[in-house]
Amino acid sequence: MKLTTKREDLVSKLSIVSRAVSTRAATQALSGVLLTAKEGRVTLAATDLDLGLETTLDANVENEGATLLPGRLFAEVARSLADPTVEIESREAEHDVEIRSGGSSFHLRVLPVEDFPKLPQPEDEPGLRIPAAALEESIELVARAASRDDMRPVLTGVFVTATGREMTMVATDSYRLAVKRTELESDLGGELEANIPARALRELGRILSSEGAGETTISLLTNQAVFVAGSIILSTRLIDGQFPNFRQLLPESYEHDVRLPRSDFLDVVRRVSQLAQRNAPLRLSFRAGELTVAAETPEVGDARETMPAAFEGEELEIGFNPEFLREGIESVSGDEVLLRLISPLRPGLLEPVEGDEFRYLVMPIRLNV
């Protein structure tokens, strides 16, 4: 294999696929980036078996072939090069690859290319089509509520269902739950129901925001999903097992509906949270016409701030994890948020004042334990 490419393009494409390079690989091959020049197309690919990323590289190909380079080193070397043009040539006899740029030349020992798994490819017939902007927004709002605890694999995914012109994403780590329903501009051309690892979706979100592709297509294989966004193919395994029925977790009615100015509320929460360290809860005390947010960390200090709030009825004090509450407020769009409460030990709900496109349910912390 022999090809010439632009340093800039190589660096940016490597930074995309590198995110799938395995850091604690079971097989050496998974720590590599596969560079393939075939039928006039040059691709870079990496996978850790959970997530696979593949993208094209603009290059002039002199000889076709494929080679597996140590991922991290290859990316670092590419980034360090001074000249805008890079020549890459594999030297079969030496079992290495020569990288030449300006006056520098590197020889990188290659990894066994036959050990690199074949990445799932999108199906030939057009898959489901989802506007990239809608997908990106849903991922941003929902994926962070997914669990990072491998003890309960089902909760580490985002449950995505879509049919016709409607898509719903939901995720929960059992402390909070985020649901986003989206009306799509066009029919997606099929049905989708899958529990997709949140990590893969976060990666997809990152790609969508930088690629600027208008549309994403999705192919569902037996236990894999393959997304195509512009020149990037992202494949991910799907999570097995029953995702909890989230609808039954959303309370049917609430005792208090408190409208709060979103940015003021967010500022107060952020300020006071500084003194809610080491797992300390944030205390929200509601009384007629006002809300006091307070926090205390033993041996560090305390903070409190009162803001006007349209609250009526008997006083109510409820505790929340500062981070869960902040992320909830951040996720609600609009000038105001609606905070709906039942009692100090029942879940609270954050949602926009109008519409039910997004809901964020958060469990309280029992105070005075």
Partner: protein
């Protein structure tokens, strides 16, 4: 990439996750027998020689004849079976044999996690025939080292470990979670690694005497009694669920050194001298493994078997004996043992590289959604 659904006839193992646990049979004793074949068939016990030494391994003959098992005081073993062959442990030889065994494993299976000298977990998920693979591994071990092993294959680490015991020695047993639930229903929950005698007696006081009893308990009830973390854990283990991955590099959570005195020590100066020595030895080991920890602790066992641990967390991770020694000394002085000391230990934990990975503990009092899953 998930497991490839293949043809399923009854002999084929087709677990979604497939984990094998391999345990060498009476490892130290077997290594000794290998170089002293004249001892074959005789009861052999490997143990130290001090008055407080414990049994490291006993050959199957010694186990059968007198119920001698590892961790039993050597003195008891000698009393029960004075005619057995008693050997001092030769760790360099065991390490070498262990290295040969683990080489065989790594040659055959990609994901191997070695735990100790004579045990390993292997992730066989997606491998076409786990049983054939492990049979090959066992026979290669036997050919190359002359040692035998037992293997358990199941759907998780925990189940694999329990399964191994069923076939000992020289067994290869495959057990699904369903089969395990049935088979162990009447067993004590103590069967499960991680459920120790204290938890067992606590469970018994709640009327939970068997695994079947434990399964009858719902998660919220267990969480109320044992706290959210342990409760959830017990609930999962009671149902024989375990998702712990097989991680090729065994992560060290803490390192410690300890010494059991041949004669209980009362002299403060002598204890303090031991603290300094233990700290130095420990730091030497930490440096060798490039580990630095923030929590420094001591362990003291008194002559009446009271155990005490004390620990202190320092600002910066360390493996410097000039830091660990004085902190350990302070802890000992603060504890101020009021009886003769039988055992003394120094420990360092909270290693930097572990800390970054740890899931944040949920806040005390944090409530959960009632997820039915």
């Amino acid at each position: 990439m998930g497991p490839v659904p293949g043809p399923s006839y009854h002999l084929r193992v087709s677990f979604e996750r497939c984990i094998a646990h391999l345990d060498m049979d009476a490892f130290y004793a077997s290594v000794e027998l290998r170089r002293r074949p004249e001892l074959r068939g005789k009861p052999v016990v490997v143990c130290g020689s001090g008055p407080r030494a414990v049994v490291t391994t006993a050959s199957y003959e010694a186990r059968k004849l007198a119920g001698i098992h590892s961790a039993m005081p050597a003195a008891v073993a000698r009393r029960r079976l004075p005619d057995a062959v008693y050997l001092r442990p030769d760790f360099p030889a065991y390490r070498e044999a262990s290295g040969q065994v683990m080489d065989v494993l790594r040659r055959n299976v990609e994901v191997v996690e070695v735990v100790g000298l004579d045990e390993a977990y292997l992730d066989l998920t997606g491998i076409f025939s786990p049983k054939a693979t492990m049979r090959r591994v066992a026979s290669e071990i036997r050919e190359e080292t002359g040692l035998t092993c037992s293997v358990g294959i199941s759907e998780s680490r925990m189940l694999a470990k329990i399964t191994t015991e069923l076939g000992k020695p020289r067994g290869l047993v495959v057990l699904s979670r369903e089969q395990a639930l049935e088979r162990f229903a009447g067993h004590s929950p103590g069967l499960i690694p991680g459920i120790g005698p204290k938890t067992v007696s606590r469970l018994e006081s709640m009327g939970i005497k068997t695994l079947a009893d434990l399964r009858d308990w719902q998660r919220p009830a267990l969480e109320d009694t044992f706290g959210p973390r342990s409760g959830a854990w017990l609930y999962a283990r009671g149902n024989l669920w375990d998702q712990t991955p097989v991680t090729p590099e065994h992560e060290t959570k803490s390192q410690s050194t300890e010494i059991t005195f041949d004669v209980d020590v009362t002299q403060r100066a002598e204890l303090e001298r031991h603290i300094a020595e233990l700290s130095e030895e420990l730091c030497r080991r930490l440096r060798k493994r490039e580990l630095e920890g923030r929590t420094i602790g001591i362990k003291v066992r008194l002559d009446d078997w009271t155990n005490a641990t004390r620990s202190h967390t320092v600002e910066k991770p360390t493996n410097d004996p000039e830091v660990v020694g004085p902190v350990a000394l302070e802890l000992l002085r603060a504890y101020d043992p009021q009886r003769p000391v039988r055992l003394l230990g120094v420990r360092v934990a909270s290693f930097e590289k572990n800390e970054a990975k740890a899931e944040p503990e949920p806040t005390p009092g944090q409530l959960r959604l009632g997820l039915a899953s």
